[in-house]
Amino acid sequence: MATEALGLWGVPLAIIAGTLRGSVPFLFVSLGECLTEKSGKINLGLEGTLLMGAMSAYAVSYLTGSPWLGVITAGIAGMFLGLIHGWLSQQPRVNDVAVGIAMIIFGSGLAFFLGKPFIQPSAPQLPTLSLAGWTQIPQLESALSISPLFILGVAIAPLMQWFFRSSRWGLLVRAVGDSPDAAKAMGISIFKVRMASIVAGSFLAGIGGASLSLFYPGSWSERISSGQGLMAVALVIFARWNPVQCLYASLLFGGAQAIGPAMQSVGIDAYYYLFNASPYILTLLIMVITCSPKRTLTGAPGSLGQAQE
């Protein structure tokens, strides 16, 4: 990143820039996971979905030349994985987490297998919007260019909040997640509601993957997600299953991720790996802080992660 000319001011600038870029996958995956968990299911497999999304978006963008087609394909690939998870995890006495781990392995394995030919070629990237039209400083311009996907995600967060509050479907999802017995008594099909939530959540996670390969870092490799899908699951807990707080939490995680590169950009190489590990440390800290044997989490859907009888 070209921040040398700005001196130490480059650090906060790089962090802000990194936040705007790096938070996009967190945002989409956490919104997808938020929707899924509101319906009472955990989908750890979103890590695999993220990779599958990244690979398919990159591949389609490369093959067709249209990055937006890639984004749609990523969403559809996510839905495909979501269907599998939705069906498997709702079988009797099946544990969500076990299925989720299997789906991480399956999703990432499939992405690596299908994505081998696309590691070398370079695919057309998504266009970016610049927030820095007022400045002539090139560093600022490059730092403040954001992805339209970021704007889309920022818009989805309050929309999802409103969906949970003021739409019949939103109430259904919450009812199923909080008290499946109550939902059943209302004649709601728990299977369908959860399936729809998981599939829609996986769609979002797939788009999160597209932002990885078509925006930032903007290439396809097997190490592209580095656990962001799993971190997004922790992030939903941190955000108390609230979509708007998912947005803030994603920005925080995106920012934490940018600390390492930002320090490096001003020449601080010491503790480079430690700084790079900050999102993981943050995840761990959040888990430690939010878990307590003495009280339950407020906002947790009542039936989260329970296997069906």
């Binding site: 003021s166 019949r168 919450r174 008290s179 008594a185």
Partner: protein
């Protein structure tokens, strides 16, 4: 025979009682009854609900055999029966949860196909379940709107609130619309369940043990208000119940099921409790009389000193509770559900850390560890035994061995389990405590509620050296004979010199069993009285927090 509509329950000609032992014919009230409509109502009269010769088989098991019942418009009908008599199956067939094997459900004398609760709603039938079916994390208003089958895809909350306020103004119960369900007391939740059906315009309400979680006062209030609606001709009610007191006080007619068959039908004004118990159980049975003996050299067994504990959300649940329970004494803790009883029992059972304070058992500090439980012989009958005292997927035998599996003869040399000994001991207990289970290898989660409770009872009461017994709502949701059995067992333990702490939301149970009653309200022990001199009114006031 011409009968007036049973508006006042003490009018009309008496009908004979029909305790019917085998393949009974249904007794229909005279046709004149059906045609008598309440003309002056603004709300439409409820439809007539009739079930004819309904049979439901699950595989080879016949849950219902040729059962007929008729709920006349504007009547309060009780459906009595023991656990497993088929009451729930019957109403679930009516509501479309189950498809009957044969037989018909008639609404307004038309045969109807009811395949789902939605269809049932279409015909004006609504059911209130034994367990609350509101979503805890949502508000009253959200639950009401969600329960509607025709609620719009996009909800305009302002308009909905206006409509709900208007509905509340005309309803028999008042609940604040903006309160989340998780903050409502049990009585209010039950009212909401009924309100929901009224809001859905259900005209025939089917209530599955609606008062099992309510205090007597709350039960009387809810049933009384429903009774008024029925008397006014707005509603018909079909209520599943175990409580003869409520059946006698509020209902018009009663239908009794026994082992899936119709065992009798009649008008409540013609029947006594003994008649109904006879129909229900098949033979004359009376509640075993309470006989208490004074235990010599009574000494304090359980002492609580300024015990404090927190709720799940970190707020205080039990505040400075101090209490002594002596040997050969039952101390009852009365209170409305949610006033800290659950947390208190969880602390004593070792399921919840205490915030501060001391627990002494036999004068020694007690931390509820397994070792201490074994040394002091402390046993627990927690509420919801399947959740708090059993491993649902483990077998009956394994569950019965949970206390003793690491001691001889169930374990050799302290670590090698002897499965054959575990099985043999369980088989003995199953016989002694009459647990109805296909085998001791059946997962305990497959048993009915009463039998789960018996399994836990067998484990907790089989030891000959019990010192302290902590029981919380031990009879919740159980039928007459199971309740009687458990009461007898608890009393027998007391008479052997066991110190018993009995936490119950059923005041009748406490008045029957306990020697002293302590009232818990807002987490504090606010009142104490010997049962012999306890005044129900005072207890009620203290429970309500006055």
């Amino acid at each position: 025979m011409c009968l007036p509509l049973p508006l006042g329950r003490h009018t009309g000609l008496p009908l004979p009682i029909h305790p019917l032992p085998i393949h009974p014919l249904p007794i229909h009230p005279s046709p004149a009854m059906e045609t008598t409509a309440v003309a002056v109502q603004t709300k439409p009269a409820p439809p007539e609900l009739e079930v004819i010769n309904l049979t439901k088989r699950f595989g080879t098991f016949t849950a219902l055999d040729q059962v007929s019942i008729k709920v006349t418009p504007g009547s309060f009908h009780a459906l009595l029966g023991e656990n497993g008599a088929g009451k729930s199956t019957l109403v679930k067939c009516i509501m479309g949860f189950y498809t009957p094997t044969s037989g018909e459900v008639l609404v307004d004398q038309q045969c109807r196909d009811i395949d789902s609760p939605k269809d049932a709603h279409h015909f004006g039938l609504g059911m209130v379940y034994q367990h609350f079916t509101s979503v805890p994390a949502m508000t009253v208003a959200e639950n009401l709107v969600l329960s509607r089958y025709d609620s719009p895809q996009w909800i305009n909350w302002k308009a909905e609130y206006d409509r709900l306020d208007a509905f509340m103004a005309t309803s028999p119960f008042q609940i604040d619309l903006r309160t989340p369900i998780s903050q409502l007391a049990a009585g209010q939740k039950q009212k909401l369940e009924i309100l929901k059906q009224l809001y859905l315009n259900s005209r025939v309400l089917i209530l599955d043990e609606p008062t099992s979680v309510l205090t007597p006062d709350e039960a009387d209030e809810v049933l009384g208000l429903l009774r008024e609606e029925v008397t006014a001709g707005h509603l018909s009610v079909l209520m599943i119940s175990h409580k003869f007191r409520e059946v006698m006080a509020f209902t018009d007619e009663v239908t009794v099921l026994r082992k899936g068959k119709l065992a009798g039908h009649g008008y409540v004004r013609d029947l006594t409790v003994d008649d109904m118990a006879h129909m229900m159980l098949g033979e004359k049975t009376e509640a075993t009389p309470v006989e208490k003996v004074t235990v010599a050299d009574s000494r304090p067994v359980l002492e609580l000193k300024d015990l404090c504990a927190d709720r799940d959300n970190g707020l205080p649940a039990v505040c400075s509770a101090s209490l002594v329970v002596n040997s050969g004494e039952i101390v009852g803790i009365a209170g409305v559900s949610g006033n800290g009883q659950r947390e208190l029992v969880e602390v004593l059972a070792g399921q919840r850390p205490r915030h501060s304070g001391d627990i002494l058992v036999n004068g020694e500090p007690y931390q509820s560890t397994r070792r201490e439980m074994a040394r002091h012989q402390v046993y627990t009958l927690p509420e919801e035994p399947l959740r708090n005292a059993c491993v649902p997927h483990m077998s009956v035998a394994e569950n019965m061995a949970l206390r003793t599996f690491d001691c001889p003869p169930q374990a050799r040399r302290g670590w090698l389990l002897s499965l054959s000994n575990i099985r043999r001991m369980a088989e003995g207990l199953v016989k002694v405590f009459s647990v109805k289970t296909p085998s001791v290898d059946t997962p305990v989660g497959h048993l009915s509620g009463g039998n789960v409770q018996r399994t836990v009872l067998a484990r907790e009461l089989s030891s000959t050296e019990i010192n302290l017994l902590i029981a919380a709502n031990p009879c919740f949701g159980l039928d007459f004979s199971a309740v009687d059995y458990i009461h007898t067992q608890i009393l027998a333990a007391r008479n052997r010199g066991v110190a018993v702490l009995l936490v119950s939301e059923d005041l009748d149970e406490l008045l029957k069993l306990s020697d002293r009653i302590v009232v818990i309200s807002g987490g504090e022990l606010v009142y104490e009285s010997p049962t012999a001199t306890a005044d129900i009114k005072t207890l009620g006031h203290k429970m309500a927090g006055h």
